[in-house]
């Protein structure tokens, strides 16, 4: 196995997880459950495809993808914060809605029920192994940058405060719901970027192309104990397992289905507290008046 190609493939698989998981961390640290990462990624991928297809520029695609994620993120925020809807239900609804909306408009825009035409992407020089893609670097930086914001800025302190003790935060004049709106909006844009990377990397949109990656990101958030850097490391670890599986193909030591299970099984083990306990932000899932 060639280490350079292993590393390159691992990073490429990890980037969508990294964007989505950092998005999940922001929202959940503010107290809003984020099961909608899958849907946000899908919307991001589709919006980026539309933007790139009609403009020819992947940068316009990136902007469209962020915008799509922002819109869906705001719908999520409106439902859970303004209307105090059950956050788990809303997350699941957003996922279903994203599948429906992307399929409907795929049909409307490209008269296809499976995929879009080929679109432009970033980089692509064989010698660079994908490292000439600016989005890849953004993905790698997302987690450390978020960690800086969460732990080293007043805004990050507020996000953590409204996620742990909204009452206490409100009593010192922090607008709990405003902070949560911002956190969920940022989460929507970040998760969407994961989908943008996928679509531009594969040079097209295909129906349900995120295929469960959003839930791997949810797993990484929990396995990383709601910490951006640890969640990022979990993403890299899950990606490494997947890369190993791909590179070992043809050599049936372990059936691929068992490799697929790794992130999910580890998350359950982490939740059960068998390898140190995963404790969620105290006010996660609780709406405030």
């Amino acid at each position: 196995m060639n280490p350079v190609s292993f590393l390159a493939q691992m990073v490429r698989i990890a980037i969508p997880y990294l964007f989505a998981a950092t998005g999940g961390v922001v929202a959940e640290r503010s107290g809003i459950i984020s099961l909608e990462l899958e849907g946000l990624m899908l919307v991001g991928a589709f919006s980026a495809t539309i933007g790139t297809h009609y403009s020819g520029s992947p940068w316009i695609g990136v902007l469209c993808g962020i915008l799509g994620g922002l819109i869906f993120g705001l719908v999520h925020a409106l439902a859970t914060i303004r209307y105090r809807a059950d956050q788990v239900v809303v997350g699941i609804a957003i996922n279903l809605l994203a599948i429906g909306v992307t399929r409907f408009f795929l049909k409307l825009a490209f008269a296809s029920s499976s995929n879009s035409p080929r679109i432009n992407g970033f980089g692509g020089r064989a010698a660079a192994h994908g490292f000439d893609n600016p989005l890849l670097w953004m993905g790698l930086l997302a987690a450390p940058v978020l960690a800086f914001f969460l732990y080293r800025t007043p805004f990050g302190l507020r996000v953590r405060a409204v996620g742990e003790h909204p009452g206490a935060a409100a009593s010192v004049g922090v607008s709990v719901n405003k902070i949560r709106y911002i956190a969920v909006a940022v989460s929507g844009m970040l998760a969407a970027l994961g989908g943008v990377f996928l679509a531009l990397d594969q040079h097209q949109f295909t129906d349900q192309m995120t295929s469960g990656r959003g839930f791997i990101a949810v797993a990484a958030v929990i396995f990383g104990r709601w910490d951006p850097v640890k969640a990022g490391l979990a993403c890299l670890f899950f990606a490494a397992a997947e890369t190993l599986q791909i590179q070992l193909q043809g050599n049936h030591v372990i059936p691929s289905q068992f490799i697929e299970m790794i992130p999910y099984a580890l998350t359950i083990i982490a939740l059960a507290g068998l390898v140190g306990r995963a404790v969620a932000p105290a006010a996660l899932g609780k709406a405030v008046e």
Binding site: L35, A79, D86, V89, V90, A93, I94, G100, L108
Partner: protein, 354 residues
Amino acid sequence: MNTRTKEQLEEALFPPLVALLVALIFGDLLIMSYGQSPAMVYKLLLQGTWGNAYGFGQVLYKSTTLAFTGLAVSLGIRAGLFNVGAESQLAAGGFLAALVGLGLSPAVPGIIAVPLCMIAAAAGGGIVGAIPGWLKVRFGAHEVIVTIMLNFIVLALLNYIVAAHLHVPETLHTPEIHAGSVATLASIIPAFHGSAANFTILFALIAASVVGIYLFRSRRGFELRAVGLQPDAAEYGGVSVGGVWLRAMTISGAIAGLGGINYVLGYKHYYEEGFTGGAGFLGIAVALVGRNHPLGVVLAALFFATLSQGGLAIHAFVPKQMVEVLQGVVILAVAMSVPEVRAVLRRARKPVTA
């Protein structure tokens, strides 16, 4: 009807009605974005579902699976638990039913084979449901995340078993079962010929009645609802909250597992990878719109089955994906209007003082 029941009924019925209205408006917009007339498309949707025997048979078939998964989710919610695992419980139920059907000799009569397959289906779903229940009671692991993660694990495991040991070459399904098939409705009413409707629907109605009696007429059901409303108070009143949680998750999983009968015994007579097709997730929508009441769940199952079959009826004019958007809109609208409607109604009822 006394005031209390009337108030409860209002709080239960308004959110789905609001959601329906919102969905209709969204539907209009989507249809018009495709340059078609909403009135014509809605008419077509109704004709293709309730307007002819084949379409109606398909609606009945689809609503059967949804009734099982909807009942499963709603029973969990009544106990204060969110079972997001109905998808894999349904698959596990169908898989074990097929295994038993494959293992039995063709000579075994249906009256014995069908109940055996049903027990297997309930056991399959029940085991998959019991795991998150146990993990919650024993370790405090949140059932939402555990059921989501288990969905992936169980489906991957079933895919592995079928792919490695059981599939018919070139397909994703097992061989046909030898014993234990449920008759089609067409065998009694010939007009249903060609549709997948079968007598599993009777089992679904029985399941709904049993769940209703269990929840509202039995001591165990009373305990379950008490735990769902106020776990601490229930514990103080002498109820073992952990015991109720474990039992509720197991029963919930078993009901979802029974749904597998509809496909495996009633329709295709084999287990196939992906036969669940999202019915487990849609069960959440069914429970939500049915307001977690067995009667409401059955009606909501009919509604979502109509939407899903209706998508095929209108496909020549508007892509069938429209109904998927509407499903999402309905769930979102119900979820948003439940707390809102309650607040508005309670404000309106408050006697005016001062």
